[in-house]
Structures are given as C-alpha cells and as structure tokens.
C-alpha cells in the first residue's frame, strides 16, 4: 500500500520533471515561426535548447518506462486506449528530433524550411496533445471493466480535453518565452520578453477557466474538499504564476523561469492529488477505474524499482544540472559561428 502510494507520486514527479524540462523546448519550437525574423534568430532559438533537449526528452522515456514497470495495467490500458493520440505525439517527437540534427547540415533554403516546419509541428503537437490526454485522465475516459476503450481520437477532443490542451500549450509557451529571454540578447531578447509578458495574461485566463471547468467536468475537487489543507497547493500554484509576472517586471528572467517551472509542477500535482488514488478513471463504470492499487506491479518489483530510482534519479539530476550549468549564458555570435551549432 505505502509502496503503491509512493509510486503514484514518483510517477507524477517524473511527468512533472518532463513537463518542466522539455516544456520550454516545446514552447521555443512553437514560438520559432512567430518570433524569429531571420535565420540567425532561428538558430539562436534552436541553440538555446540545443545542448539540452535530448536529455530533457528522456524524462518522457523514463516516465513511460516507469509506468510500464510500476503500473503495467495502467500502461497497457492507457496507451492502447490513447493509441492514435500517442502515435501522433511520437511521430511529432521523431520529426522534431531529426529536424534539429538535420536542418543545418545542408545549405538549401527549402531543406531548412522543411525541417523548420518539423520543429514547429514536433513542438506544438505534443504540447497540446499531452494536455488533451491529461485533461481526459482527470475527466475519465470510456473504458469498460476489461480495460477496453470505447471511443476514438475525436472523443478525446471534447471541450474539457481541448481546454487542457490549451492550458499545456500556454504553460509551455510562457516557459519557452522565458527561457529564450534568458538565452538571447538584442532584438530577439526584447521580443521574447514582450511575448512572455503578453502570454502571461492569456495563461492566467486559461488557467482560471480550466480550474473552473474542472469543478464541473471532473471529480478532482472531491479530495480537496475532504482535506481542505490541500488547497494550499492551489495557493502555491497561484503564487508561482504571480511570481512569474513579478520577476518578469523585475527583469529577473531566470527566477521568472524558475517560478514558471514551479507553476508547471504545481499544475501537474494539482491534477494528480485530485485523481488519487485513481490513475485513469472510467467515465462509464466506476468499478472499472484504474487506480494505483489495482494497476500496480508486485511488491517485489516495486521495491526493486524504488531502489533503482532512489539511486539513479539523484545521479541523473546531478549530471543534468551540471550540463545546464555548463551551457549557461546567452547564445552568442561566436556560438553560432562554431561548427557544432545548428
């Protein structure tokens, strides 16, 4: 029981770290066609995430792998139920990944435009679809007691699902604009800052709308009413959002980005705490709810995996922080001139 609860939150933590790290990559990739005025600016944007995005994306693989190891029933049901959505995400990620590597390797305008489009597509599609998926998790999806899904890609695109998609998109856009504010200078920097300022208002509006819709569309608040102390998380979440704006005004871009990261983590856990102990509730039959208790692996597997993550997650965080630190500072002309730049 304790093991399953621990794993439920570890599972959430992995997703949260993925959203924080790869989130700003998605944001920058989506902003690229709108913010960059020329090829140099595009390259600044790409190089702002260049050394890091690959390692960021692995948090998705880890979240997926841990879902498989700790909650095989959930893994089997959610990925087969969300088949088409997940395939779309995967194709998008594939295109984004090779686009980064390939775009600069041939001097040809069309070649670059094709891969630039892939960067955009590979960023916006996962950003929205992860939101759609998670909102549907919160709401529940039509699965029966056999774990068979009675719906299709379009039944996921309901109003609340799409609102979740918008929320994720704007969270990541804001997060990306802030990262770009840290990494760029000159015109592009000014535009990034202005964008972050503007996007903030939309983000707040979408977030409030989502909080309200959640009240009517899901059972998430039940846990909060049962333990009102949990509302503290919502308050921290709001504080984090306000800090983003505050530090933006103060021109403390890194602290603003950090606040945005905190906001993303809070948003993720807002949903998870509401879900608990559900992981994938059924919208048609409450007996078919997939929970941390009925979807988990055996205690032995959970213990072994716990040992593995307790050893490795700190090591991973240590070398990733080292890498982030190694590549801190703005992307400069000298960086772009180097042969290793995108």
């Amino acid at each position: 029981m304790e093991l399953q609860i621990t794993w439920f939150f570890l599972w959430g933590l992995l997703w949260a770290i993925f959203f924080v790290t790869d989130g700003f990559d998605f944001g920058i990739g989506t902003l690229m066609p709108f913010l960059a005025k020329n090829d140099t600016e595009k390259r600044v944007m790409l190089n702002a995430m260049g050394p890091l995005w690959d390692g960021n994306e692995v948090w998705l693989i880890a979240a997926g792998g841990v879902t498989f190891a700790a909650f095989p029933i959930l893994y089997a049901t959610m990925f087969s139920a969300l088949y088409s959505a997940l395939m779309l995400i995967l194709f998008a990620l594939i295109l984004r990944g090779v686009a980064m590597e390939f775009r600069g390797k041939v001097e040809n305008v069309i070649w670059r435009q094709v891969w630039d489009f892939c960067v955009f597509f590979g960023s916006v599609v996962p950003a929205v679809l992860f939101g759609v998926a998670f909102a549907n998790f919160f709401k529940g999806i039509p699965i029966d007691a056999e774990g068979i899904y009675h719906g299709n890609l379009f039944s996921l695109l309901n109003g609340y699902g799409l609102l979740g998609g918008l929320l994720f998109l704007f969270l990541f856009l804001e997060h990306g604009a802030l990262w770009l504010s840290i990494k760029s200078d000159g015109d592009l920097h000014d535009r990034a800052v202005r964008t972050a300022h503007g996007l903030w208002w939309i983000l707040i509006a979408v977030a409030l709308l989502f909080l309200t819709a959640t009240r009517f569309e899901t059972r998430l608040y039940d846990n909060y009413y049962a333990n009102p102390v949990l509302f503290l998380l919502v308050l921290i979440n709001l504080a984090a959002f306000l800090q983003v704006k505050w530090f933006l005004i103060k021109k403390a871009y890194f602290t603003a980005w950090f606040s945005s990261a905190l906001a993303i983590i809070c948003c993720t856990f807002f949903g998870l705490i509401g879900l608990f102990p559900n992981m994938l509730p059924s919208s048609v039959d409450r007996a078919a709810d997939i929970t941390a208790l009925n979807a988990s692996s055996s205690p032995l597997t959970l213990k072994i995996m716990l040992t593995v993550v307790i050893i490795f997650i700190p090591i991973i965080l240590a070398y990733q922080i080292w890498a982030y630190n190694l590549f801190k500072g703005k992307v400069t002309k000298a960086d772009l001139a180097a042969e290793d730049a995108y």
Binding site: G65, F79, F327, D340
Partner: protein
Amino acid sequence: MDVVLLSRLQFAAATIFHFLFVPLTIGLSTLVAYMETQYVRTGDETYLAMTKFWGKLFLINFAVGVVTGITLEFQFGTNWSGYSAYVGDVFGSLLAIEATAAFFLESTMIGVWVFGWRKLSKKAHATVMWLIAGASTLSAVWILIANGWMQHPVGFDIQNGRAELVSFLQVVLNKFGWMIFLHVIAGAFVLTAFFVMGISAFHLLKKQQVEFFTRSFKIALFTGFVAAVLVVVHGDFHAAHVAEVQPAKLAAMETLWETQPKAPVYLFSIPDEEKEANLIEIGKIPGLLSFLAFKNVDAEVRGLKEFPKEDRPPVFISSLAFKGMVGLGTYFIFITLVGLFVRNRLTEFPLFLKIIMFSIPLPYVANELGWILAEVGRQPWIVYGMMKTADAASPVDPVQVAISLAGFILVYGLLGAAGFYLMAQNAKKGPVPVEEEV
C-alpha cells in the same frame, strides 16, 4: 487484416528500421572515443580530424537511431497491451532500468559532446565520448536481457493471473540474454568496422587524404577482424544454447524434420512446410548438427515433426536468415583476414578496396538477419513456451493500427532516406584538411 498481424508488421518495421542505426551507434561511439583519446594522448591533429569526421557521421546516425527507439518502448503499450499486462511485472522494470541507468546518460552527454568542444578540457571532452559509448553499450545490455527473457523466461511465477517476479537476479543473469548481448555487440563492431573501412576505401581509391584514411582503415580492420571471429565463435555457443532451450527454433534453422541421432547440417536446403520435408538438400554433413548442438556427433536432435504444427516457427524464413547470417559471418572473417595481409599497401590493391567499399551493406544485412531469426524463430510465442503472440495484441481497432503502420512506413522511409543521404554526403566530402606542421 487482423490486429495481430498488423501489429506484428508494425513492430517488425519499427525494430528493423531502428536496428539499422543501433549497431553503428554502439560501435562508432567506441571508435570515436578511442580516436579522441589518441588525440589527447599524442596531440596528433590527424586524430582530432578523425574524431570530428567520424563523429559527425556518428551524430547523424545517432539522431535517427534515438528517435526511432522511442516508439519501440511505447508500442508495448499501444499494440501489445495483452503482453504488457501479463508480463509487465517482470519485463517493464528492465525497460525502465534501461532508461534510467543508461539512456539518460547517453542522451545528456550527446548534447555535452556536440556543444562542449570549447567548454570542456580536452580530457573531459574525450571522457564524455567514453560515457556515451559506455551508456549505449549498457543500453544494449538491458534491452537484450529483456529480449532474452522473452526468449527464455526465468525468475517468475504465475500469480494473480499474470507473471510475477520471483528472482530479479535470475532474470538479470539469464544466460540467454547475455548470449544475445555478446553476439549483438560483436555484430555491431563488425558493422562499424565495415562502415569505416568502406568509406576509407572510397577515399583511398581516389587517393584522397591517404594518411588519414589509411589510419582509419587500419583501426577498423583490426576491430573488424577480431569482432568477426568473436561473432562466429560466439554464434556457435549461442546455437548450442538455443538447442537446449528453444529446440523448435534450432530445428527450423537447420530444416531438420525428423528427430534423429547423428543429425546433419545441410550447406543449403529449401524446406517445404506443407509436405514437412525439404524440397532441396545440398551438402549434407551427417552428425554435424548433433555435434554443434550437443558436442557429440551421436546426440539426438529433435526434429520439427516433434512439435504440433501450430507451435512451429516459420521454417523457411528462419532457415534462410540463419544460413544467410552464417554465410556472411564466414565472409567477414575471410575478407578481413585478406585485409590484414595487405594492410600496409592498401592503395596497391584497388580491387580489394572496391570489394570492401561494396561490402558496407553486408553487415547491415547480417545484423538484421540475426534479429529476424531471433524473433521469427521464437514464433508462435511472444514469450517462449508461455504466451502466444496471438494473445498479446491490444484490443484496438485494426484501422488505427493500419493507419499508424502506414505512418511508420512513410515517416521512417523519409527519415531513412534523409539520414543515409546526409551520411553519404558527409562521408564523400571527407574530413576538413589538416594543416601539416613542419
């Protein structure tokens, strides 16, 4: 078409495509790490140029390999939910450990290596490449332990209607997984060696950058010879293990229908699965199969007829894959042996260089044949003797799978074309010329 067949096609397409890039990732990262180390040790600029040139090809290859690997992990959930639910308790942890213990390190360090030339000391930068090479090999360990478990499941009990882990140690020390691992790693180095030798041969034929490419060629040649010998010697051990735990696969590999002592090996045979006999048998060597499998020419080997028809793997594909792999393996030893004799006068043997150049695709074929044999030969089981492939598929609409299969073929086709085009372009261009120091 039914969902099982579509999912099998999709998984096959995804694996075969992914595995076009994996062996080179494993082998070339190690060779590049070696080259960079030589540069750090000797200060010889040619080694730096080699590191950069081969490193660039490595990166293009890595990009395609890494993104196509991501889909594989998720397909266990999307397409094989029956499998995931039934054996996830044992199998899932192996994939999760691969991600946390190996893949993270590899992916993070790739970024550091590419962008870290001016940020790290020479020694630290070379160390990063060794970390990448080590992590990609470690990835292979975990993936192949996972595959080994599907081939020869151990360390579990059927409880609560699924396979539950009983001994993690037994799963990790499963001999089958380590056998495949050694074979795959050796095969990866053969492929890498022929890749490096082939591109070097192209330039040596044109007498471009002779010093650079002779040196590259020689490093690859020694690697290739040793790996080719290991792959064949080890393949023999592995076949003996297959004989022990997957007798139906062995019988299919060798198109052996009747259970018999002094079982023969045929140099060439074409099986007829309808008639349960071989249409053509050429070069029968009595007793050799008994000897290879059990180190005793008189040992009895079980034939295909011993297994119910529905429990036999596809005989034709299995035997063809096996014979092809053995033939190619023998060729690799032979041609690298020739190479060792002419290594100091490479440019004087244009015919040899040409043969080497045109041999680049052969280890690719051999590596893929190995996988086809391993996976097709395991059929109709997804977990040998325990769960049938037909029971493992997700209850999803076949139309969805058909669409995603088409998507895989389209996207992967384009990626493969772009990736190999870029590699060919960069390979042809050659290294940035090194200024000779006086």
